[in-house]
């Protein structure tokens, strides 16, 4: 884990101090709201429906126990005792007062946390594979490069007032756990034929009003040229991205309008003129960052744990948890443990201060001090010994953190929606809860298998609905909450955008429609097809017919 050195800590302190001054100038009237708004957004402070919302950055989804405890403390002292994890692996506090924010930032800075560039038309949090350092299928640790990008992008003087927000995702595994193809820049670490480490660089993915799957701009960029190359991309975007219409200002629009070949030509031309030696990191700095993510001191353990096997055989609940929430770890005798924040009746992605503190304790005691956040709004204990699983499970179960539903129908991504967000058209949380009520049987959920439902309360798509196997988008139809359903989206390596199911449905029809979709799938699926596979085989027609047949 990268520990902030004095320079990194000075940055946070200087930023917190700068923001304190800006808040004071706003409160005194020296600067107007128009002038202050971009400044507070660059510190992740939104004005929402009921209060200010502060979005704290969790760089590449990585948290230490100390940091989690600090977040819990902030939630208690300044908010209502909980936090909300987002689809960009950040954490939000929904009941913040402007006057407290300088103190909050000071307290977060002490543990190396901040809210830098979590909003605004700048480069946002760099997200990475939540299983980094634990999964066998990575060619390198993507966190190294996420940290490289984090530093390069922080207070970048040229790219802090882009046409629109800019999001990076980095992965190093054939499996995509980051929705990289739905990002402005998606980076996939690979070795080429000669074993040289490099990135497939993809640009122009994005959701929102006009979703796009990213295009590959470069198949293999040698890794040590990452910064100069992305600097070229950002410069072309900063100079030529549209500034006349905020709905047409993302890089995906520029790439689509130029075409990927012309866009590539412009980027390559710019890159050829950049003094790469000045921008790319020197090997010593790269080595320093890489050393922070050196392989951990795993114990040498047998691949099978008799303790765990015995407990699993005797405890069906543990067995179910193991079936759904564990993922293979590269080290024999260890497991990756997903912690679901989607308990029945809970708000998706929310964790109370007590829950955060428990996870901090478990992370400290059982996961080598390492906790992650996923873009599905769940948490991960990446390095748990199989021997310890029964104890970890028991502790999670005692705090409603052991729901055995990862990637299942009730593991729903939902944005805060109209209950909190000033931009929303409709609620998302209660839709997720209503759907959950239709699928209370864990057996049924396992029978259904992998089914990723994603709900956004508005077209800004913070719930990533475009890449949901079932996507649900809240729309405002004459003041009522209506929902547009889509099918067949995927944020994984087989990325695709969802296809519209039919006319928007009123609020009270949505959960029933999802139930009908699932029933349809179960009735036509072949073998062990997931919902997504069945949809791709049979198309939208049988689903549409089933849902709308009883529309009157």
């Amino acid at each position: 884990m990268y520990l902030y050195d004095e320079i990194d800590r000075d940055m946070l302190a200087d930023r917190a101090s700068e923001f304190r001054g800006q808040v004071a100038r706003r409160l005194s009237g020296e600067i107007t709201e128009d002038q202050f708004k971009p400044l507070r957004l660059m510190n992740g402070l939104y004005l929402q429906l009921h209060a200010y919302m502060l979005r704290v950055s969790v760089p590449y989804g990585s948290l230490s126990p100390v940091q989690l405890r600090a977040l819990a403390a902030v939630s208690r002292k300044y908010d209502k005792g909980y936090g909300h994890f987002t689809t960009r692996t950040n954490i939000q506090f929904h009941w913040i007062k402007l006057k407290d924010t300088p103190d909050i930032l000071d307290e977060l800075a002490i543990v190396g946390l901040h809210a830098i560039q979590t909003s605004g038309n700048c480069i946002r949090n760099i997200t990475a594979d939540p299983y980094a350092g634990a999964t066998a299928d990575e060619v390198d640790d993507p966190r190294v490069w996420a940290e490289v990008l984090r530093q390069w992008s922080t207070f970048h003087p040229e790219f802090s007032f882009l046409p629109r927000k800019f999001k990076f995702a980095v992965r190093a595994s054939p499996k995509d756990r980051t929705a990289a193809k739905a990002h402005d820049i998606g980076l996939v670490l690979r070795r080429n034929r000669d074993g040289v480490l490099g990135f497939e660089v993809m640009v122009g993915g994005g959701m929102g009003r006009t979703p796009h799957i990213a295009s590959t701009i470069r198949e293999h960029l040698p890794a040590d040229h990452l910064l100069s190359y992305v600097e070229a991309i950002l410069r072309v975007y900063n100079r030529h991205g549209r500034r006349d219409n905020m709905y047409k200002a993302r890089i995906k629009i520029l790439v689509a309008s130029l075409g990927i070949d012309e866009f590539r030509r412009q980027v390559d031309a710019e890159w050829a003129l950049i003094e790469q030696g000045a921008i790319d990191l020197p090997p010593s700095e790269l080595a320093r960052i890489r050393a922070a993510f050196a392989p951990l001191n795993f114990e040498s353990l047998p691949a099978i744990s008799p303790t765990f096997e015995a407990e699993r055989a005797n405890n069906p609940a543990l067995a179910r948890f193991a079936r759904n929430n564990l993922r293979p770890h590269k080290q024999p005798g260890y497991s990756i443990v997903e912690v679901s924040l989607k308990a029945p009746g809970a708000t998706p992605g929310d964790a109370t201060a007590e829950q955060m503190e428990l996870i901090a304790d478990l992370g400290e005691r059982y996961s080598l001090g390492d906790v992650r956040v996923t873009h599905a709004q769940n948490l991960v204990l990446p390095h748990v010994k199989l021997d310890d699983l029964p104890a970890v499970y028991a502790a999670l179960a005692a705090t409603k953190l052991a729901t055995p539903n990862i990637d299942l129908v009730t593991d729903i991504i939902a944005c805060p929606g109209l209950d909190y967000c000033a931009l929303a058209n409709a609620r998302a949380i209660s839709v997720a809860q209503d759907i959950g009520e239709k699928f209370t049987s864990p057996d049924k959920a396992e029978l259904i298998g992998e089914l990723k439902i994603k709900i956004s309360g508005c077209i800004n798509a913070c719930g990533h609905h475009h890449v949901g196997h079932i996507g649900i988008l809240g729309v405002d139809k004459k003041g009522e909450e209506f929902y547009q359903l889509t099918l067949g989206g995927s944020g994984a390596e087989d990325a695709s955008l969802g296809e519209m199911l039919g006319p928007a449905l009123a609020y009270d029809r949505v959960a029933g429609a999802v139930e009908t979709l699932v029933d349809t799938y179960l009735s036509v699926r072949v073998g062990d097809e997931r919902f997504l596979d069945t949809f791709r085989r049979v198309g939208v027609a049988p689903f549409k017919e089933a849902v709308y047949v009883d529309a009157h």
């Binding site: 050195d5 320079i7 990194d8 000075d10 940055m11 200087d14 930023r15 101090s17 700068e18 800006q22 600067i31 002038q35 971009p38 400044l39 038309n121 530093q151 390069w152 922080t154 207070f155 970048h156 003087p157 040229e158 790219f159 802090s160 007032f161 882009l162 910064l227 410069r235 900063n238 100079r239 500034r243 003129l273 003094e275 000045a278 921008i279 990191l281 020197p282 010593s284 700095e285 320093r288």
Partner: protein, 167 residues
């Protein structure tokens, strides 16, 4: 009353602005220093320069700095516009002028110019500012020095963190 702040050697001060900004429809004054818009520069600057007068150019947000490449040696000042303060194109323009084209004259921020962005502007190579928020040179200097370190290289001479760490 001066409305121009100049940065020099780490300090900021009010400066006399003896350049006249010639609007698109205006006629050029018969004497003195002038700043012409890009669209007029190529046609009208040579005659003014031939009189031994100093000439500058003003670029709008969408104007590309590459167009200035043939004229840089003659330009006393380049004014880059921020049509709204959130429009960050001129950051790229300034940086390219310094780093790619080696321009050493004055680069001035005009348009909606706020002191909260002073550090970004300075790092991108601006050394003169026409603020629209009533700010003073002292406030500009304070803002420029808010951050003890920087992470990346830009058009200024500040060593990035990775260089500091090597020391």
């Amino acid at each position: 009353m001066s409305t121009l702040i100049k940065l020099a050697g780490g300090t900021a001060a009010w400066a006399d602005d003896d350049f006249v900004m010639v609007g698109l429809e205006d006629s050029v004054p018969l004497s003195g220093k002038v700043i012409l818009s890009l669209s007029r520069y190529e046609a009208e600057a040579p005659a003014i320069l031939a009189q031994g007068r100093k000439v500058g150019v003003r670029l709008e947000g969408a104007d590309e700095v590459e167009a200035l490449a043939p004229f840089l040696a003659d330009l006393s000042v380049i004014a880059l516009e921020f049509p709204k303060f959130r429009d960050g194109r001129s950051f790229s323009s300034a940086r390219l002028l310094r780093e790619r084209f080696g321009y050493r004259g004055e680069i001035r921020a005009v348009g909606e110019v706020l002191r909260e962005l002073a550090a970004f502007m300075m790092r991108c190579g601006f050394d003169a500012f026409e603020p629209t928020d009533g700010s003073t040179p002292e406030e500009w200097a304070a803002t420029v020095h808010r951050y003890r370190h920087v992470y990346q290289r830009a058009a200024d001479s500040r060593a990035p963190a990775f260089v500091e760490r090597e020391a």
